[in-house]
């Protein structure tokens, strides 16, 4: 209950001019996740692989007494697997918590909401579905990820349909 209230509170704040975004790195690319969706960041983890699981599943992690499914951003974007420790963002979604497996978690950026632009129309449909626009930074673009669209249950359903 209290975490929900806290999330709501933060959401109200993000509705104002400034947005807090956690940046994550995948090879050279920079992605962002709205900070109010993040429950915790687990550093340097090696998830337990699940044989026969859909490709996008990065494995299982143990988080506070529960076993969570992780989604591998690399697999999702068709990048080769990395044989190294990776960072995991524990995300909250309506279907329950899950982990997002990324190369490394960067700093938290505070950005003006005005700097956001929607997905370009030239982006392929698959990526249009995963991304929710981008922020224009000085050094490049920060592609926003929508945690709700990364939910493994939703991805699993999309894969089979």
């Amino acid at each position: 209950m209290s975490t929900q209230a806290a999330v709501l509170h933060r959401m109200e704040k993000s509705a104002s001019a400034l947005v807090e975004i956690c940046s994550v790195r995948l090879e050279q690319a920079l992605f962002g996740v709205p900070i109010h969706h993040i429950l915790e960041i687990v550093g340097s983890a090696r998830p337990q692989p699940v044989p026969l699981a859909p490709r996008f599943v990065g494995g299982l992690v143990h988080y506070r007494g529960d076993v969570l499914t992780t989604v591998s951003l690399r697999q999702l974007l068709g990048l080769p697997l990395l044989d190294a420790l990776q960072d995991i963002l524990i995300l909250e979604s309506p279907g329950g918590c899950f982990g997002l497996l990324v190369d490394s978690v960067g700093e938290v950026l505070t950005l003006p909401a005005a700097d956001h632009e929607p997905n370009p129309s030239t982006l392929d449909e698959y990526r249009k579905d995963l991304f929710s626009g981008a922020y224009k930074l000085k050094g490049g673009l920060l592609v926003m990820l929508d945690p709700e669209r990364l939910d493994p249950i939703r991805l699993g359903a999309a894969r089979t349909s």
Partner: protein, 731 residues
């Protein structure tokens, strides 16, 4: 619905549950003033609160009941059978109104005038005087308005007779020291405790080298273990919670069916996880119904058969290791095997040819098939053909097992084996494709190790199907690694051991080949997300003692995926037959052991486990060696002198074969386990009788260990000498 009403509903339900228990007790001791006071209190509380909440219909009914109860309590009226029947009807009336309130938030439109009128009639003793003569002969004339029955038709549970009053007093004080807790909160606590256990394991590892912290971490260890146990206990409830419903059911049914039944209940204090208790409620009720309808005969039939007119129904619960056994047994007609055979053929469940080949025991198992019912006619009680298969399905759903035993004319016993808890299951940790998996022990029947040099010859192939000869029979094999990573190469890396876990999953028997075995562990089952559940091979995940995650394999799903399928009822029947045949074959199989240079045979069917342990685990009561195994104290038989030989070396490893002997377990200390082999019969010279105590193993006459000769604990006499006598190997 407001909180006040909800509170009222919960309290009233509890009050009525108490009232029901007291009423059936009252039948046994009509002068039980404490019982009457308790019943009066329940009804009075309901009446008082309803007036306040404005439930008029409920109030009127409760009021009528209270008047009657008042007379009973003051001794102006005695609690005769019609009065108790009336009160039970009152109970049902109150319950149904409460249910309506719960569902619809108002009392509903029912008409209670008839019931109220009856309750008022019962208040006048004159009315009773008229009825009393009927009491004597009701066994036949059951058509009386109040459906009376002799008081003796139902007996309160025997064990609570002498001290019913005392236990009730205890129950009252217990009510004051308990409180209601939401089950979700308990589940959360269980989860958190699981987390704490893991953290503790890590702390223990991290502080192992620091003497200053050792004491602290040991304390943490103890507190955590205690806490875990307490939380598990908090989820446990005594089986009396469901047993207590049975006297009423038996009473009502025996009236409907014109039976005279005496109900005995044992082991009501046995505790079971709440969710499991819920799950066995229906199967148990069903079993009781069956026992009354099909088991116990009408009084006249019983007398004709030379039995007491009153039948006995026994409910027994007891904990046995990590299981709780619940038994429903009756001394009724038993099950006529011929009828089962005829019925099964008639329903097309098996063919006549097949039926002729089945033994009695195998035929009995047929009643668990869907669509099977021998009741000649359909009654309101049973005979709809949705019977025993539902019992079996429900019990198997929670990882339990159902067995049935019946003897014509003597009675039937239905035995439910229920695991103590669902959240924690014993599992064997196996390794394959470089990671750990948990295999539930329930499905595991044995393990076979194949050394690398034998791998090529031991595993045989028919085209692409690998097979293993397990004691002469072909066992289909499933390679876990191939199943999981879809590797196609037939040759596996040489120089590795193969392990075959022989599994029996929902009647499918196969061997699962894995790369390695780790220790058995009690694992806490964690659910998987829907995406991974859809794979279909895993039933959950768990966190191992070392902090690693392991997927829990679902043996049934693996069998299905690999095509080890058995579908159709004919197949099920055949399987049942196979199963029985296997059991019969097993009886003639022996575990060949060696103790201090001599060989002996242990009947394989009785072997539960083979444990390798250090000799320091063996403790002594007087001169008797005992083993504390999983909380149970086993007498250890050592007439072979294995223990004596290694007495001065506490590090030495010995092997203890743990066997079942009737209802007890015994351990046998041996130096090695050599093999499993089928025994041959030997005939005594001269008499041509089958000789007992010896068997022919690997063409050698070998003594069979007589388990019943292992002395009871505490030991009174020495069993010395028997071992040496039995282990004598005659060449």
């Amino acid at each position: 619905m407001d909180d006040l009403t909800r509170e009222f509903l919960i309290e009233s339900q509890e009050g009525l549950d108490r009232m029901e228990r007291c009423l059936t007790d009252l039948e046994e001791q009509p002068d039980g003033t404490a019982l009457l006071a308790e019943i009066f209190r329940s009804v009075h509380t309901i009446k008082g609160t309803t007036g306040f909440l404005g439930f008029k219909r409920l109030e009127r009914l409760a009021h009528a009941g209270e008047n009657l109860l008042g007379l009973l309590r003051d001794g102006k009226l005695s609690a005769s059978a019609p009065v108790i029947t009336g009160l039970l009807q009152l109970l049902d009336g109150l319950r149904s109104i409460l249910r309506t309130i719960e569902a619809e938030n108002h009392e509903g439109e029912g008409e209670d005038a008839e019931l109220i009128c009856r309750l008022e009639q019962l208040q006048t003793p004159a009315q009773l005087a008229v009825m009393r003569p009927a009491l004597v002969s009701t066994a036949v004339t059951s058509a009386s308005a109040l459906e009376m029955l002799p008081v003796s038709a139902l007996s309160a549970p025997e064990e609570c007779e002498p001290d019913a009053a005392r236990s009730r007093a205890q129950a009252n004080s217990a009510a004051e020291s308990t409180l209601r807790v939401d089950v979700t909160l308990l589940n959360r606590m269980m989860n958190l405790v699981g987390e704490l256990v893991l953290t503790r394991n890590q702390v223990l590892q991290a502080t192992a080298s620091d003497p200053a912290l050792t004491l602290l971490s040991r304390r943490l260890d103890m507190v955590t273990a205690d806490l875990r146990e307490s939380v598990m206990k908090a989820r446990m409830q005594p089986v009396s919670n469901i047993f207590s419903k049975m006297p009423r059911i038996v009473r009502d049914l025996s009236q409907t069916l014109h039976r005279r039944v005496r109900l005995q209940m044992e082991g009501q204090e046995t505790e079971l996880d709440k969710s499991l208790l819920e799950a066995i409620k229906d199967p148990l009720t069903h079993a009781v119904r069956n026992a009354l309808d099909h088991g116990i005969e009408p009084p006249a039939v019983r007398e004709a058969a030379g039995k007491a007119p009153e039948g006995t129904l026994r409910l027994r619960a007891a904990q046995q290791g990590s299981h709780v056994i619940v038994e429903v047994s009756d001394d009724g007609a038993g099950i006529a095997v011929d009828k089962i055979r005829a019925k099964a053929i008639e329903c097309g469940l098996i063919t006549a040819v097949r039926a002729a080949q089945l033994s009695e025991r195998e035929l009995l198992q047929l009643i668990f098939l869907p669509g099977f019912s021998t009741a000649a006619q359909i009654t309101s009680v049973s005979g709809r053909g949705v019977g025993m298969d539902v019992v079996r399905t429900n019990v198997e759903k929670i990882g339990g097992k159902v067995e049935i035993d019946a003897r014509v004319g003597k009675g039937t016993t239905l035995r439910l084996r229920i695991p103590l808890t669902l959240a924690i299951i014993p599992a064997l940790i196996v390794r394959s494709v470089g990671q750990s998996f948990a295999l539930p022990q329930g499905a595991l029947s044995e393990l076979v190790r194949i050394p690398p040099e034998q791998a090529a010859s031991a595993i045989e192939w028919i085209e692409a199907a690998p097979l293993y000869r397990l004691r002469g029979k072909l066992l289909p094999l499933v390679f876990l690694d191939r199943l999981l990573v879809l590797a196609t190469e037939r040759e596996r890396a040489a120089g590795r051991d193969h392990f075959i876990a022989v599994l029996d999953a929902d009647g499918r028997r196969f061997g699962l080949v894995v790369d390695g075995l780790a220790d058995p562990e009690e694992i806490v089952v964690k659910p998987l997300s829907a995406v991974l559940k859809d794979i279909g091979l895993y039933s959950g995940a768990t966190v191992l003692g070392n902090g690693d995650l392991a997927l829990i394999l679902d043996p049934g799903a693996i069998a299905m995926r690999a095509g080890v399928a058995m579908s159709g009822e004919e197949d099920t029947a055949r399987h049942t037959a196979d199963d029985a045949a296997t059991t019969a074959a097993r009886a003639a199989e022996y575990l060949l052991v060696e103790a201090a240079g001599r060989q002996a045979a242990v009947p394989l069917a009785e072997v539960l486990r083979i444990e390798q342990l250090s000799v320091s685990r063996i403790e002594y009561i007087g001169y008797r060696p005992v083993l504390n195994f999983a909380g149970q104290l086993l007498p250890v038989e050592d007439t072979g002198g294995v223990l004596a030989a290694v007495q001065n070396n506490p590090e030495a490893q010995i092997v203890v074969v743990i066997c079942r002997d009737g209802s007890r377990h015994v351990g046998i200390a041996v130096s090695h386990v050599l093999d499993v082999a089928a025994g041959g019969d030997l005939l005594d010279a001269g008499t041509s009788q089958r000789s007992s105590g010896v068997t022919l193993l690997r063409n050698r006459v070998t003594g069979v260990v007589d388990l019943s000769a292992v002395a009871q604990l505490p030991a009174c006499e020495s069993a010395a000498g028997e071992w040496s006598q039995l282990t004598e190997t005659v060449r």
